[in-house]
């Protein structure tokens, strides 16, 4: 079997420069390759017209660009698009493009499947298949037509970003780099369930925003929703966030999916206020998109708005996330799970 060639998408300018030097090319070739990879839409070495034919053939002999087009796209009536990408032999990942006036957000995946087993998550039902490489994360932006207008990136797609920290940190640095996609770090948010060691690493080494999935302020309740609570309790996660001075522009938010009769009471408001008392943050309330086989239901609109008002009255900035793409399998992981199941049934995937 031929050995797959190494991808160039996902390399930093320094790494590309080193590759150029190793191939006996001028050092500046690294910068030229970075330009074609991150600033243009070309998808083959032949289109890199400021490189000689000899250089292009040398590159294609040793490398591939690493750009893979989505296998399908679903568009919602509200303009949201869900792109499905194939990764590895039989896995799929999703990226969601969410337009909102001048704001264009791409929600990217960091893993195919997920190991975290949260009760409310569709991706978790696939089990874990693979970590995405830096190139596979960047490709979700690089290969779609909206790449030039994208203003925001959120790592809230499939997978737990801090279970694939190296690739997530590197891809976020290329999203923000001048040689890369040059998106402001203030417009990039990494969302985690609270893996503390990696979260510390991120807070110390990145300027991007942090979002933490909270979902319940009570230990016992949260661990039934999110097994990670067994090893990294939310109280410790919040204490960790508190240890960092995030400056004026870096934002920390806490994501809170509203589950009917479970985490939407006044008791929860009071405990959230106590937990987040000393943290400069906001809470983002999220309606639950039902997934197959879950015992959970979304809280109703009135309850969500009451909950928001009660938190605001306690001095916590609280927003309610608009539900988007409800007509195109909005729950993250639903589209790729359907594709995976379809392939399993047709025998294309070995269990």
């Amino acid at each position: 079997m031929p050995v797959p060639k190494e991808s160039l998408l996902g390399k930093t300018k320094e790494e590309l420069t080193q590759i150029a030097i190793d191939l006996g090319l001028p050092q500046y070739t690294g910068g030229q390759i970075a330009y074609w990879l991150y600033k243009t839409q070309v998808s083959s070495f032949d289109e890199m017209t400021n490189l000689s034919k000899k250089v292009r053939s040398l590159l294609s002999e040793h490398f591939e660009m690493g750009i893979n087009q989505p296998v399908s796209v679903k568009e919602s009536a509200d303009g949201t698009k869900k792109y499905l990408f194939r990764t590895g032999k039989s896995s799929y990942i999703e990226a969601a493009y969410i337009p909102d006036n001048d704001r264009h957000t791409l929600c990217v995946s960091s893993q195919a499947g997920c190991k975290m087993g949260c009760l409310f998550c569709m991706t978790g039902k696939q089990g874990f298949q693979s970590h995405l490489t830096t190139g596979e994360i960047l490709n979700q932006l690089r290969s779609i037509p909206e790449r030039k207008i994208m203003t925001n990136i959120v790592f809230m797609g499939m997978g737990e970003p801090f279970d694939n920290t190296e690739a997530v940190m590197k891809s976020s640095s290329i999203f923000t780099a001048e040689f890369g996609f040059a998106i402001s770090s203030r417009k990039i948010t990494v969302s985690t369930i609270g893996i503390i060691p990696s979260m510390k690493l991120f807070l110390e080494n990145s300027k991007c925003n942090l979002a933490v999935s909270l979902h319940s302020p009570f230990d016992e309740e949260r661990r039934k929703l999110m097994p990670i609570q067994n090893v990294y309790p939310i109280k410790d996660v919040v204490e960790t966030v508190q240890q960092y001075d995030l400056g004026k522009y870096r934002r920390v938010s806490f994501e809170y999916i509203m589950f009917k009769g479970i985490n939407d009471t006044r008791r929860h408001v009071n405990e959230l206020a106590r937990l987040l008392n000393k943290v400069n943050c906001r809470i983002n309330l999220i309606r639950f998109h039902a997934i197959p086989g879950t015992p959970l239901e979304s809280s109703d609109e009135d309850t969500i708005l009451d909950f928001q008002q009660a938190l605001m009255a306690k001095g916590i900035v609280t927003t309610v996330r608009a539900s988007r793409g409800q007509d195109i399998d909005a729950a993250c992981g639903l589209l790729s799970t359907k594709e995976l199941v379809k392939n399993k049934e047709s025998g294309q995937v070995n269990e």
């Binding site: 690493l201 080494n205 039934k224 097994p227 067994n230 015992p295």
Partner: protein, 219 residues
Amino acid sequence: MKTKLSLSKIKVIRQREISRGVFILSFIRPWDFTAGQVVGLAGSENDEARLYSIASGELDEEVDILYNINPDGKLTPWMSQLNTADTLWVSEPFGSFCGSGEPAWWIASGTGIAPFASMFRTGLHKNKKILHGGRDLESFYFHELFEPELKENYIRCCSREYSPDVYHGRITQYLKEHPALPTNEKYYLCGSAEMVVDARDILIEKGIPFDNIISEIYF
């Protein structure tokens, strides 16, 4: 890059390969712990620590760590080469996937049995059922511990090999076929994300309140 889990150096006192690619590494217990807790392990102070459940009892003098080699990983291929007196970096124990005296089902696949071995060795096994999944007959680690005590309450589910005293099939299949699962008992799940999520879905489908299901995932 450092992960900041505080680690201390310990010496390996024993390493045994109990099945192909599966090891128990032991060191003298440096701290107290609660059965079911995990520790971070690393090859050096600056490495990223990986989490492993403790498999020994709370009062044992030694700490046992059950692990299998992840060929793509950095730590376990290296760890499997350690000999007596070699050093390893270990965090203090932490985590709340801990057992109790209540009646419960302990459900595990592969090395996910480790926290239940710890609870068992601590004496929490009365009124417990263990549902233990494995691909082949060699993968029921600690079965020699569980079987004599729990008898018919220790159920092995083997998906690839047959044996008269072993249920043939996966844990999930056993749960689906099992007609009456008590709804007022706790169900503790530990193992791969896929097993945990699938088993949890089946339990919920069978009427177990999700309040009674406690899961530990390996990552």
